[in-house]
Subunit: 155 residues, 2 copies
């Protein structure tokens, strides 16, 4: 309760970042230790695995809110591991369709098992009511993102 009436603890960017950071770190430790995956790599793998159809790098970026250079580097790393392949698009050769290989899909499935465990842990920690509220709130933000969705550079 500052004298000027601004309440940092109610400021959404600050709060969201705090929560996101906390929640992400605990999970990152797991896939980092077991698979030597970086965060952008996991997120790219997850995006591709979850849709189960080829996506372009731009689509991956939009899905996961990552900068295009992050995506580009993550894709290269995953390709080198032979967890994904690039397929040129006929008709528009600027695009490449990214697709998980068998090995990539296998890794994805293993990682989602970890993720599901972690989600259950979070459910227990946060409680059903809290998780439901959070889900509703995040949906509201996601709708809002759809309305704006212009700024593409990170900072």
């Amino acid at each position: 309760m500052a004298a000027d009436g601004f309440e940092l603890n109610a400021f959404l960017p600050y709060r969201l970042n705090r929560a996101a950071e906390f929640v992400a770190l605990r999970f990152a430790a797991q896939y980092k230790a077991r698979y030597q995956l970086t965060r952008p790599e996991w997120r790219t793998l997850a995006a591709l695995g979850s849709t189960r159809r080829p996506m372009t790098a731009t689509e991956v970026g939009a899905h996961s809110a990552m900068h295009k250079t992050k995506v580009s580097r993550a894709v290269s790393a995953l390709e080198e591991r032979r967890w994904l392949t690039r397929n040129e698009n006929e008709g528009d050769r600027r695009l490449e369709h990214l697709q998980l290989t068998k090995a990539g899909l296998r890794a994805y499935v293993e990682l989602t098992a970890l993720a599901a465990n972690y989600q259950a842990e979070l459910d227990a920690l946060v409680g059903a009511a809290g998780m439901q509220a959070l889900t509703a709130g995040l949906e509201a933000i996601e709708r809002a993102i759809g309305k704006v969705e212009k700024p593409r550079r990170e900072g």
Copy 2:
């Protein structure tokens, strides 16, 4: 809807990060342009300004979920700008109490005006119901953080 039953879009770390990134970037652009502040610097300033009492670097880190090296560097930068001073603690000389200077406080007040505007913008975008749900959900997470609060390294 993946065949193995894992739903990435319902996975809390992924969702939270997406929302936090989106919301933070739009605000970061503002204080970066006007004050050449980095994110850790703004967050340190905000933590110190909001409590209106001296805090140690460790407390700042806990308050804002930042790694201690980030805090250390942000504190040095703010000190060089003469926006804060360090005061040695009597009794335990490992600690230093960080305190905003007049100039630092002035900057904080100016920035909270920007922050309040941005919060109003978000309120309008997300809607009252969504914001209320989000607040409830984030509170649940914050309570959960309090329960665990062990892992201190970032990844």
